[in-house]
């Protein structure tokens, strides 16, 4: 690309602060569209760029994030009755969630900028989304140092070692969660981590609906007895990770992603189909009495389906592959819920596992297409 020489020489390569070129460039192009003009190939280009793609995803996440903040305060108030009123609950939740965002972005972007600087490349926008996702998929009281460590692990070993956004094969946000889960299980699961407490106070007991899955064929009764119904799980007024509870907020995000074409509706639809199928098998064979459609509103399934499984980099790349990939995610997620009572949230591992298999799915799809092409008869 041809560079237009309007930037101050200070940050140019060879300038006094030339070693900060990538950082300068990131802020500069954040504020103003770069002056680069096409030099090869198509002389005009679509105005869509990766910054726009990423900001659309962030926008789609905003309803879930706002709801999550309110729900943090609301869940606290349900137990302790010390936060009267909607705004009290929202701002208390904001106050609780904001540090997660600050840590997520400072650590993650710090590593992104540093590695771009080392490689002498432009800073990738991918972390704008990952950094926004991470606070939404962890329990609100996760210690900040753990989060910092997990973010560093996810960004360095999940992304940068492979070459940055677009080269990674695992979803960095989920990798961050998996790191937390396996390293510090006591802060990530059980019934003591889901409801935010005040500084220094004791942990508050509050199980998520999913934790009753271990009741097997009596699970639905246990869920109802704990005060959960389909509709409050759908609305999201239940304990859980910050952003995952409200299916309504997630559906608003799904609408934005599908309308703009940023995320694949095929993956979303097939993931739901996979979950319904295995959920139905589960009830048909008496493994559980939770109807398949209730599975869709429990735990991280909806959030994972809409925002994590559809990550365009780590999902299947071929259109046929997307159907297979999505279906298997939904099916695996519910399978884990049915047969792993100790840890009922199957979505994280289902997606990470299918991230690993996505290249294989694509390989099968492309090679069968190639064979089909080779068989085409020539008519000329």
């Amino acid at each position: 690309m041809e560079e237009n020489n309007v930037k101050p020489g200070l940050f140019e390569k060879g300038g006094k602060l030339g070693w900060l070129h990538s950082t300068w460039d990131a802020f500069d192009t954040f504020l103003r569209v770069p002056a680069t003009v096409t030099s090869k190939g198509a002389h005009v280009r679509d105005s869509l760029d990766i910054k726009r793609v990423m900001i659309i995803v962030v926008l789609a996440l905003v309803p879930a994030a706002l709801f999550g903040m309110w729900n943090v305060g609301y869940q606290h108030d349900l137990k302790l009755h010390d936060l009267p009123g909607f705004w009290n609950q929202f701002f208390w939740g904001l106050w609780k969630v904001l540090p997660l965002y600050i840590v997520s972005y400072i650590v993650g972007l710090g590593i992104e900028f540093t590695s771009a600087q080392i490689k002498g490349e432009e800073v990738n926008e991918g972390y704008l989304v990952s950094g926004f996702l991470i606070p939404l998929i962890v329990p609100v009281d996760v210690p900040l140092w753990m989060l910092a460590l997990a973010v560093a692990f996810a960004v360095i070993f999940g992304k940068e070692v492979f070459g940055g956004t677009g080269m990674n094969f695992l979803n960095p946000a989920l990798l961050c969660r998996a790191f937390l889960f396996f390293s510090y299980p006591s802060s990530m699961s059980g019934s003591l981590v889901w409801i935010a407490r005040r500084c220094g106070a004791d942990a508050i007991t509050g199980a998520t609906p999913l934790s009753y899955m271990s009741e097997g064929s009596a699970a639905m009764d246990a869920i109802s007895n704990a005060g959960f119904s389909f509709w409050n799980m759908f609305a999201g007024t239940v304990p859980g990770s910050v952003g995952e509870t409200s299916v309504i907020a997630i559906l608003i995000g799904a609408f934005i992603l599908i309308w703009t074409g940023v995320a694949s509706w095929k993956i979303m639809v097939s993931s739901v189909a996979g979950a319904l199928f295995v959920g139905w098998l589960g009830t048909a064979f008496g493994v559980t009495d939770v109807p398949a459609y209730v599975q869709l509103v429990m735990g991280g399934f909806a959030f994972g389906t809409v925002f994590m499984a559809t990550d365009p980099v780590t999902s299947a790349q071929t259109e046929t592959g997307k159907w297979i990939y999505g279906f298997l995610i939904g099916a695996l997620c519910i399978t884990v819920r049915l047969f792993n009572p100790g840890y009922a949230e199957g979505m994280m591992l289902a997606i990470l596992l299918m991230n690993t298999f996505a290249p294989l799915i694509d390989h099968c799809v492309t090679s069968s297409a190639t064979k089909r092409r080779a068989k085409k008869v020539s008519i000329a």
Binding site: M1, G41, H43, L48, D49, G261, S264, A380
Partner: protein, 447 residues
């Protein structure tokens, strides 16, 4: 058998500056360039020196590998200069026109009565042979090879492309003669846009009706992939209408006549329309069509696959369109973050261009973003009506993996076929250049 080809995928780029359907003038140029760089696979050897007298049809350059393949002068005049670039690469031979219409006499012939060998010889001698492009690779056809078939697209869907019905309205007889002559060598397939096209009546060819409204349905590569995909070891030839008309005129008039109607288009053109011009006509002859105050890019061809020839450049051999667009060096503040950008087009629903489906845009050359790795996976296939996986092919080219390139269809494509993928690419990769490098690698490895 139905010869309909229905294509749904694609994109029409809504760019301003379509050429008005009127012929503005006939350009009588002072200087005409013979550019070997227009022909992929042609390594030029000079047959003339400065000061030599040439006529229309006189040999100027020969191919080093195959000396039978020559390029001839489109006008009569004297050789004014030999232009060379880096490493003394021969860029152009400039012929100063003397204003006469002296031409080498190749003798009038009736195409029906010729055989394949006679057609080949006539084309080689007249310098019209290089107008035949061979696929795979888009190189000059090898006279020793008989192709599987010859394909002609009788229309272009490229942005602001010349209207074939208007541009060639006086050349129908010549095009028919050209088709008849070429059909002596191999079976000719002509793709027409809609059954009522004037070219649907061409004889000695199989007519295929393309039912489509979006680019790249007019690209011959796309049409071939739907008629008879090119497999390993096969070769096909392609010809455009301007070349067919020239071939027809060679037989009907006995001389090299390369004049064609050229569409003058683009958002930076202050006046649009058609001019009659020769390939190699200097862009300076069109300087009245642009605003000299605006930094303008002079493109020979269309905005997707044309060549940036600069204001001192020349019309390409295969082109019948010139596009003028503004260089986009302005920096839009917070462009990507604005909810509405009414003056920027995007085919994506992430912007709001869909609210104004009829609007035409004054597009410029800004890339609208920095280069990134491939992130989105489904935007490319939507604009490519071919049975290939574009991103896989591109990545195979980047990796230089010959086997994978073959598997993903490198034989079927030329860079122009993936031009729209490049246009919509949010990661701003130079996809056509990647494909072109991939093709160069294939040529080298397969030689």
């Amino acid at each position: 058998m139905s010869n309909n080809i229905v294509l749904k995928k694609g994109l029409n780029i809504p760019i301003n500056g379509v050429a008005a359907l009127e012929t503005m003038r006939t350009i009588v140029p002072d200087v005409v360039a013979v550019k070997p760089t227009d022909f992929k696979g042609f390594s030029p050897r000079l047959l003339v020196k400065e000061g030599d007298k040439v006529q229309a049809g006189s040999p100027v350059l020969a191919d080093k590998q195959n000396p039978d393949i020559i390029l001839t002068s489109p006008v009569s005049g004297t050789v004014q200069a030999i232009c060379r670039g880096e490493k003394r690469k021969l860029l152009a031979v400039l012929v100063k026109a003397d204003g006469t219409s002296e031409a080498v006499d190749f003798g009038k012939k009736v195409p029906e009565n010729l055989n394949a060998q006679e057609v080949k010889e006539a084309l080689l001698k007249s310098g019209l042979w290089p107008s035949i492009i061979q696929r795979p690779y888009g190189i000059i056809a090898d006279p020793a090879v008989t192709p599987k078939a010859v394909f002609v697209s009788s229309f272009s869907t490229a942005p602001l492309a010349a209207d074939a019905g208007f541009a060639f309205q006086d050349d129908l007889e010549a095009i028919q003669a050209g088709v008849t002559a070429i059909s002596k060598i191999a079976k000719v397939h002509v793709c027409v846009c809609g059954a009522d096209s004037v070219f649907a009546t061409l004889k000695d060819a199989t007519i295929h009706t393309v039912v489509a409204t979006k680019h790249p349905a007019g690209n011959v590569g796309v049409q071939i992939s739907h008629i008879s995909p090119i497999k390993k070891g096969e070769t096909v030839w392609t010809l455009n209408l301007a070349s067919l008309a020239a071939i027809g005129k060679l037989f009907l008039q006995g001389k090299v006549v390369l004049e064609r109607k050229v569409a003058v288009t683009g958002p930076a053109a202050v006046k649009t329309g058609y001019v009659v011009a020769l390939p190699g006509t200097p862009m300076t002859a069109l300087s009245d069509c642009v605003d000299s105050e605006v930094e303008t890019r002079f493109i020979s061809g269309d905005v997707l696959s044309g060549e940036n020839v600069g204001k001192d450049g020349f019309l390409g051999f295969f082109d019948n369109q010139v596009t003028f667009i503004k260089e986009g060096r302005e920096r839009e503040v917070l462009g990507w973050a604005k909810p509405f950008r009414f003056n920027q087009f995007s085919s994506s629903m992430a912007y709001f261009s869909w609210l104004l489906p009829k609007k035409k845009y004054d597009m410029d050359t800004n890339t609208h973003g920095g280069v990134r790795a491939f992130v989105c996976s489904d935007v490319y296939g939507k604009v490519l009506p071919m049975d290939i996986f574009p991103v896989y092919l591109i990545k195979a080219c980047l990796a230089g993996d010959i086997d994978k390139m073959e598997q993903f269809g490198i034989y079927e494509v030329l860079p122009e076929d993936l031009a729209l993928c490049e246009f919509v690419d949010p990661s701003k990769n130079d996809i056509q250049a990647i494909i072109s490098d991939g093709i160069d690698l294939m040529i080298k490895e397969m030689a």
